[in-house]
């Protein structure tokens, strides 16, 4: 077939186009491809819940661990709000409890390990969508540390600070006394590594994982809830899994 355009199709092209240009005519396939890509994207958004469930069951048991590199391939993702986080270990780690308490004090890692231990196995649910099923955490109940410190009657909330120098979190005193909230030093039955917030992090089982502050260094009893780092940036302060941040994930505890 002659690739030159017919005069009819050439008529609506710009006048400066040389008449022998074989690309001056032809079907507008480029536009169709573009619109098709847009349509596929819209279909992807609509079909996402179904597709995501399918992929999750497809990748459910993967001995190679390679699927961890794929989007939503399961497993933890590393989030830090600062450029670098100092490393702490048993020799220099301290957790201080202060504010509206009768007995402010600080704990070493060994002190925390010597207290009664609780092990909890629940799903970890990030507010951005990833979920790590059946993850064991072990440590001291936050309520135990609060009882030992003696919360004064004015104290109604807790503010958590971290040795990354930036991250903060909060809980009401009522929330903080739940038995499924730990000051954790073990995860997945291993000592908590630096990238997971070690040596000690907060673990708030029933809430989205941003409440479980990494690199925990301070517990301060306050009169009112002071919103934490991400809560100043729009996240809900009461971060119950499935009942906050507009999400409907299955609860984690």
């Amino acid at each position: 077939m002659n690739p030159e355009q017919s005069p009819r199709r050439g008529a609506d092209r710009p006048r400066e186009r040389p008449p022998e240009d074989p690309e001056a005519s032809g079907a507008p396939i480029g536009r169709r491809l573009l619109l098709g890509t847009l349509g596929l994207g819209a279909f992807g958004v609509l079909a996402a819940p179904t597709l995501q469930r399918g992929l999750e069951s497809l990748f459910a048991d993967d001995p190679t661990g390679l699927t961890g590199l794929l989007p939503n391939g399961g497993g933890f993702r590393y989030y830090s709000v600062t450029s670098s986080v100092p490393h702490k270990d048993a020799s220099n780690y301290r957790l201080t409890i202060d504010g509206l308490v009768d007995h402010p004090r600080s704990y070493t890692l060994a002190d925390l390990k010597a207290l009664p231990q609780t092990r909890i196995v629940h799903d970890v649910q990030c507010v951005t969508g990833w979920r790590v099923p059946g993850t064991p955490f072990q440590g001291v109940r936050l309520s135990h540390l609060l009882d030992a410190a003696g919360v004064q009657t004015k104290g109604r909330a807790i503010r958590f600070t971290c040795f990354d120098g930036a991250y903060t979190e909060s809980l009401t005193l009522q929330q903080a006394r739940r038995p499924d909230i730990l000051v954790a030093h073990r995860m997945q039955d291993k000592p908590l590594g630096h990238n997971h917030g070690g040596p000690v992090r907060l673990y708030v089982a029933p809430m989205y994982f941003y409440k479980s502050a990494k690199w925990l260094s301070g517990i301060t009893v306050t009169e009112d809830v002071r919103p934490g780092y991400w809560e100043d940036r729009g996240y809900d302060v009461d971060a119950w899994v499935g009942r906050s941040n507009g999400r409907d994930d299955a609860p984690t505890s």
Binding site: R13, E16, G26, I29, G41, A48, R77, T82, G246, R247
Partner: protein, 211 residues
């Protein structure tokens, strides 16, 4: 076949150059490439644990990623004031019978120039241009849904994240192919750097092109 021009000593003068891209078109490509590069680099720092651990600063990286993504269509939109750029968009849009021949040859891995007829842009370049434009708009739309979470039902946000994640992976692979092919063709790169290509290259790679 004709003898190649440089086979003949009497014609040893510097091969004539053919104008391929105007200054405006080259700048559209440069700025788009830069913004896309920023999007890919920041995405790596948000996604891949090794880079996330290296860089941290999540709040800042997210802001840079969002703004680079928002700006990504701007060079192309600004380029629309250029007549040469609009004319090339028309060439990328219109497919002739030779494009089908080219695609069939590409699918058969037939590399002979004679079975790969192309005008100013070959069918592969046309496919890439249309797809990456559509993919960029899908990334922009899903990215905005993730950015302004309170504007849309949050079910949409999870779905948008899903599409954004998988399309990002796909774009990464396709972009690597785009860059890989450019690395393998210095004259094509020279075309985008200086605006002109050798007549011999134009004849070989784009025989139907009438510059």
């Amino acid at each position: 076949m004709h003898p190649r021009v440089d086979d003949t000593p009497t014609l040893a003068a510097p091969a004539p150059r053919v104008r391929r891209f105007s200054r405006a078109e080259r700048w559209v490509h440069r700025v788009t490439a830069l913004l896309m590069g920023i999007c890919v680099a920041t995405a790596a720092c948000l996604y891949l644990p090794m880079f996330a651990e290296l860089v941290g600063r999540r709040e800042l990286v997210v802001r840079v990623h969002e703004w680079a993504g928002l700006m990504l269509p701007v060079p192309v939109l600004a380029g629309l004031v250029s007549r040469a750029f609009r004319a090339d968009l028309g060439r990328l849009n219109r497919w002739g019978p030779h494009d089908r021949t080219w695609l069939r040859a590409a699918l058969r891995r037939d590399r002979r120039p004679s079975s790969r007829p192309a005008a100013k842009f070959n069918a592969g370049q046309k496919t890439y241009a249309a797809w990456i434009a559509g993919a960029t708009l899908v990334m922009l739309a899903t990215g905005l849904l993730m950015w302004f979470t309170h504007l849309a039902p949050l079910m949409w946000r999870t779905s948008a994240t899903f599409v954004h994640d998988w399309l990002a992976l796909t774009i990464g692979v396709v972009l690597a192919g785009h860059i890989g092919m450019a690395l393998g063709d210095p004259e094509a790169r020279r075309g985008l750097r200086t605006g002109s290509v050798s007549r011999e290259w134009a004849k070989r790679e784009h025989p139907l092109w009438r510059p």
